[in-house]
Amino acid sequence: MDLHEYQAKQLFAKFGVPAPKGKVARTPDEAAAIAKELGSVVVVKAQVHTGGRGKAGGVKVVKSPEEARAAAEKILGMDIKKHKVQIVLVDPGADIKKELYFAVTNDRAARKPLFMASSEGGMDIEQVNRETPEKIIRVHVDPLLGLREYQVVKMASGMGLAREYWGQFSKIAHNLYRCYVETDATLCEINPLAIVGTESGPMLMALDGKMSIDNNALMSHPDLAELRDASGEPEEEIKAREEGLNYVKLGGQIGCMVNGAGLAMATMDMVAQFGEADGILPANFLDVSGGAGEDKVAAALRIILSDPAVKSIMINIFGGITRCDEVAKGILQALAEVPTDLPMIIRLTGTNQDEGLKIINDANLPNVQSARSFSEAAQKAVAAVKGA
């Protein structure tokens, strides 16, 4: 789960990583009020779950509350890569002396947390990686041992940080690691980690922040789960997540319900293989995931039926931990609640498949066909759309 910049920076500050004391606004008036409170120069920044907001005009430095109001007016409601801006962060302006890059994330291949630090902050770090990879100092952390001071020294020394900042940098590194561990983050990124002038002298500060939390860990962190801002997402996807389903709307005509992400992807591929020539495509990706009971399946069906573009439904279940009889009961339950006469192709294979098919057949529904093979199911689903 991605966090907004302002949420990441609030968490950084909570763990002792200095960040500007900005506030969020949802209206131009709020933005002006915050700018007034902060005094002098402020930065108005769009809060959206996508990159490239700078280039899109989503970040503006302004010099008065009036300018802040005007900037917020422009930015709020802006569309950045299909994300509608609904919140802006109003941060105090900073006297930036130098910009660094600093992040910790999971290195899947090494199976360890990885710190990356670079003197080349504030810019596109992927470009730095392509052009001057030696300018990114990489340090793997032993997950059992945690970040060690010598590793911090390696980063500070390696990126040529002036020695008077090593003490500050060490605290930030250890605190960022604590933040990463205690929030079960998959990414904590500060870009730029800037040296800024302050009344008490120059100090390191996280001027921008990005955090992602491990979805599997949200159950143990209810406070973090509440930070989810779904305001930009399609309603069906929000509903699906609430039901524990993995749903992505795609815009085609065949509603797909599948168990398992791999099989769901293969199902979409198969539908496209037979339908693409006629412009018939999957309406969605929907993985009911392992162990789906009847309630979950019913919810999935309800979500599929809520999409008006859907002209036929393909249910492809290969029962392992999911039992076909429960799937069958779920389908009937959902159909009782949300009646439909859309053609429905059901393929149930695997654990308790006979019981499952018997339940479907006994219900004797006119619009339901069964299929034994995967390709047969896809072909029937495509044919049903064509015949409609």
Binding site: A103, L114, P143, D214, N216, G262, D269, Q273, G291, F318
Partner: protein
């Protein structure tokens, strides 16, 4: 012969008294798996399906001689359960549980790498040696004995592929679902190596997905070390573009791991790639 499990493998079920654990214990026993007992803390001394239940893995191992543990406990206990099995010296651990935070798995992996235990999963369907033993949640009837080894990152897609083989009369030595979590136990390469060394395995089917670079590494391994033919399938050719992994993620992974990338890589090392699961038997 087969790899990893056969009729003599002595299987312990952790979380045996839970709903999923109990259901699949029955299924495993019915298939012929040599389930020797179970573990649920606080239920030591009880019996389930005629099998003794213990409080700890070490007590269960001492009493039953188990050399394999299959883990069905809920996600918040699963890392602990894996560490317990490693500590008890269980040779082969199969973790079915889905939803374990990756930082916990990094710790498990660090401990695992210092041990002699093997881990399959977590978040995997387990494995099946047709006619002998199944450990995990794969439906048994889809497979039949034969000369093809199957290894897959995807749960249900594994069944699909195995089913497609069986329907065409092609049996399997062992079907292994390695799971798709970012940090887990055995990799494609670990399993490919075993199939290469297994006398009864003549050909291998590999089922991959989009994301990461495990398939690319497997392709390199096949090129360097495998004499047996491998047929692959990659799911997700039409997958919607994933959510951003952030810049840090992109730098580490060195690419987004699209299906096209992976298919091209397999083609470049002479591995045939099926366009859908049902096509796999044709390419063998």
């Amino acid at each position: 012969m087969a790899i990893l499990i056969d009729r003599n493998t002595k299987v312990l079920v952790t979380g045996i008294t839970g709903k999923q654990g109990l259901f699949h214990t029955r299924q495993m026993i019915e298939y012929g798996t040599n389930v020797v007992g179970g573990v649920t803390p606080g239920k030591g001394g009880e019996w389930v399906e005629g099998k003794p239940v213990f409080d700890t893995v070490i007590a269960a191992k001492e009493a039953t001689g188990a050399n394999c543990a299959v883990i069905f406990v809920p996600p918040r206990f699963a890392a602990d359960s894996m560490l317990e099995a490693i500590d008890a010296g269980i040779e082969f651990i199969v973790a079915i549980t889905e939803g374990i935070p990756v930082q916990q798995m990094m710790k498990v992996r660090a401990v695992l790498d210092q041990s002699t235990s093997k881990l399959l999963g977590a978040n995997c369907p387990g494995l099946l040696t047709p006619g002998q033993s199944k450990v995990g949640i794969m439906p048994g009837f889809i497979a039949k004995p034969g000369p093809v080894g199957v290894v897959s990152r995807s749960g249900t897609l594994t069944y699909e592929a195995v089913f497609a083989l069986t329907e065409r009369g092609i049996g399997q030595t062992t079907c292994v679902g390695i799971g798709g979590d970012p940090v887990n136990g055995m990799s494609f390469i670990d399993v490919l190596q075993m199939f290469e060394e297994d006398a009864d395995t003549e050909k291998v089917v590999l089922i991959g997905e989009i994301g990461g670079t495990d398939e690319q590494k497997a392709a390199d391994f096949i090129k360097e070390h495998m004499t047996k033919p491998v047929v692959a399938f990659i799911a997700g050719q039409r997958a919607p573009e994933g959510k951003t992994m952030g810049h840090a993620g992109a730098i580490i992974e060195g690419g987004v791991g699209t299906a096209a990338e992976k298919i091209e890589k397999f083609n470049s090392v002479g591995v045939k790639v099926a366009s859908n699961p049902e096509e796999i038997p044709d390419l063998l």
